[in-house]
């Protein structure tokens, strides 16, 4: 039961993270610059545990697509357990801490993980309040817009099916 609940939560947060990245592309210049520097077709896969939710995203035609599956992601990350993923996606552990705790393995180039880490740190900076980010981020990023705007746009995006 606990495991099922953790998987459900992780699955929802993964969708929110993708949505937040899509919105932050319009709202935050650092996210925009990061994506604009990515090669066309750059892709990430994230496996969050055994039989647990997965995320496949690809940068293509100026948009971050959320795909059902990708055969050969350029960078494939695998978190070592559902419990770890749950802690990561509920603001209990940041990406640097996950690295320090050997929480994931990765196939691909480390430079691509660093790019993703910068994006995830920004997303966390917007989505989580300061009392959480001060524990999980090495440095709290300056916010360029009010986080409520990000939440508002994400909500709107889900309601209008923008991420499907």
């Amino acid at each position: 039961m606990k495991l099922a609940l953790q998987k459900l939560t992780v699955g929802i947060v993964l969708r929110v993270v993708h949505a937040a990245l899509v919105e932050l592309y319009a709202l935050d210049s650092r996210v925009r610059d990061e994506f604009n520097r990515m090669p066309e077709g750059m892709s990430y896969a994230l496996q969050t545990g055994f039989n647990a939710p997965q995320l496949f995203v690809q940068w293509k035609d100026g948009k971050l697509h959320n795909l059902k599956h990708l055969d050969k992601p350029v960078c494939a990350l695998r978190l070592k357990s559902t419990g770890i993923s749950f802690r990561m996606f509920t603001g209990q552990m940041g990406l640097a801490q996950a690295y320090a705790q050997h929480a994931f393995s990765m196939q691909g180039e480390i430079a691509d993980v660093m790019k993703l880490a910068r994006l995830v740190n920004l997303v966390e900076g917007y989505l989580f309040p300061k009392f959480i980010t001060k524990h999980i981020l090495t440095d709290i990023p300056a916010l360029q817009v009010n986080p409520l705007r990000v939440y508002g746009r994400v909500l709107c995006g889900f309601l209008t099916g923008r991420y499907n």
């Binding site: 480390i110 430079a111 740190n121 090495t138």
Partner: protein
């Protein structure tokens, strides 16, 4: 204490005076009859490699194949080439004689062979590989710096874009390392000083980065003490076997330390300087260390202070007010590099190392994409890396 940490060192260490003579026996025990010997042109020319061959042959072990065209900072292409040669010449083990460049090349070759791959790029990643075929692998370090003989990482330059890539896997660790002070007797003073500083950076970054843990810190602090006590003597008087031995052990310990913790911004920026401007790794480390420590100080006051007794001794450290010990550790490091500069002309600025300021933007871009930055105690963006570079210019 860390919520969670891991520690691994599978390498058998053969340390001291007669270490080299035991290499043949070690290979035999690993099941090898036809080892491939890897080294570089300098070591082949000055006779260091031959010393190893002689010691092996004296005990009935002859290299089946030798490759000495390994470039400084290694190369993905060369790794693939050597793996193909290994297969075609029927070798059954790898022996690497050299500094970090040779050892890391050999680590790359071992990965390719054990994973039954053709191209190292296809198997790159972090902890992503299963054990694969066991390829017996022994290393003989000829510099006292990288500690690569005990680390779970290979740093290899991608010739196409100049990026120094990190391949992280426990399976790059050799079976055994021969730590013999005779191997570094001929290392020139500048190389002795700078590679010694590389080891110092490993230990300091390992003890102060986000991944530091009690085990890695135990190795790191002892390494710092040994380096501070011996690096000047080893630089001044290269034939002092005692100092050479201490430096060899110190760099190995610093390697164990950072392999089980991590490094930080000094390495991230140093790798980028190596990739973009071809600054030798150890030289970049020496120049950058005090500047990066100053950048990190706001987060590292206590962790730097804790290192001070290992650098200057307990009594001297305790004579400094507690709140000043963090800064004092930075000053101790800067003073050591200045003394080494006076002894052997070790470069202390990027300008002296031939770096051009117009390359800073590219260096910063590479540095923020280097994995070593992820656990640095303070995040750094490109603008902050450029500030550090300017301070070090």
């Amino acid at each position: 204490m860390n919520k969670y940490f891991e520690f691994q060192n599978v390498v058998k260490l053969l340390c001291g005076e007669s270490a080299l003579e035991r290499l043949a026996n070690e290979l035999e025990h690993l099941g090898s009859k036809a080892p491939m010997l890897l080294s570089d042109a300098v070591l082949a020319k000055i006779g260091t490699m031959q010393q190893v061959v002689d010691a092996m042959e004296a005990e009935g072990c002859k290299p089946a194949c030798t490759y000495t065209d390994i470039p400084v900072d290694s190369s993905l292409k060369v790794v693939n080439e050597i793996a193909a040669l290994y297969r075609s010449s029927g070798c059954d083990a790898l022996v690497a004689v050299g500094g970090g460049s040779v050892i890391d090349t050999a680590k790359g070759v071992r990965l390719v062979l054990s994973q039954n791959a053709d191209d190292i790029l296809a198997i790159g990643g972090v902890e992503n590989l299963v054990r694969g075929t066991h390829i017996p692998f022994v290393v003989v370090p000829t510099t006292s710096g990288t500690g690569s003989e005990c680390t779970g990482v290979a740093v290899i330059r991608n010739d196409e874009n100049g990026v120094k890539m990190e391949f992280l896997s426990p399976f790059v660790q050799p079976d055994a390392a021969v730590i013999d002070p005779r191997m570094t007797l001929g290392l020139p003073p500048k190389a002795t000083a700078s590679t010694g500083f590389d080891a110092m950076v490993h230990a300091i970054e390992a003890c102060t980065c986000l991944q530091a843990n009690p085990m890695s810190t135990a190795y790191g602090t002892t390494a710092i003490k040994l380096i501070c006590e011996n690096v000047e003597e080893a630089t001044r008087n290269g034939s002092n076997k005692k100092a050479r031995y201490a430096m060899a052990v110190a760099s190995t310990m610093a390697g164990v330390s950072f392999s089980n913790s991590m490094v930080g911004a000094v390495h991230a920026i140093g790798h980028a300087l190596g990739g973009v401007c071809h600054v030798p790794h150890a030289v970049a480390m020496t120049i950058l260390l005090p500047h990066v420590m100053r950048f990190n100080l706001e987060r590292c006051k206590d962790s730097y202070a804790a290192l001070l007794p290992w650098m200057i001794g307990m009594d001297a450290a305790m004579a400094i007010p507690a709140e000043k010990r963090g800064e004092a550790a930075i000053e101790a490091v800067a003073a050591l590099s200045s003394r080494l500069n006076a002894i052997c002309g070790l470069p202390l600025t990027l300008r002296e190392a031939g770096v051009k300021q117009e390359d800073f933007a590219k260096v910063a871009e590479f540095a923020v994409n280097d994995g070593a930055l992820i656990v640095n105690p303070r995040a750094a963006d490109e603008a902050q890396v450029i500030e550090i570079l300017n301070a070090a210019y």
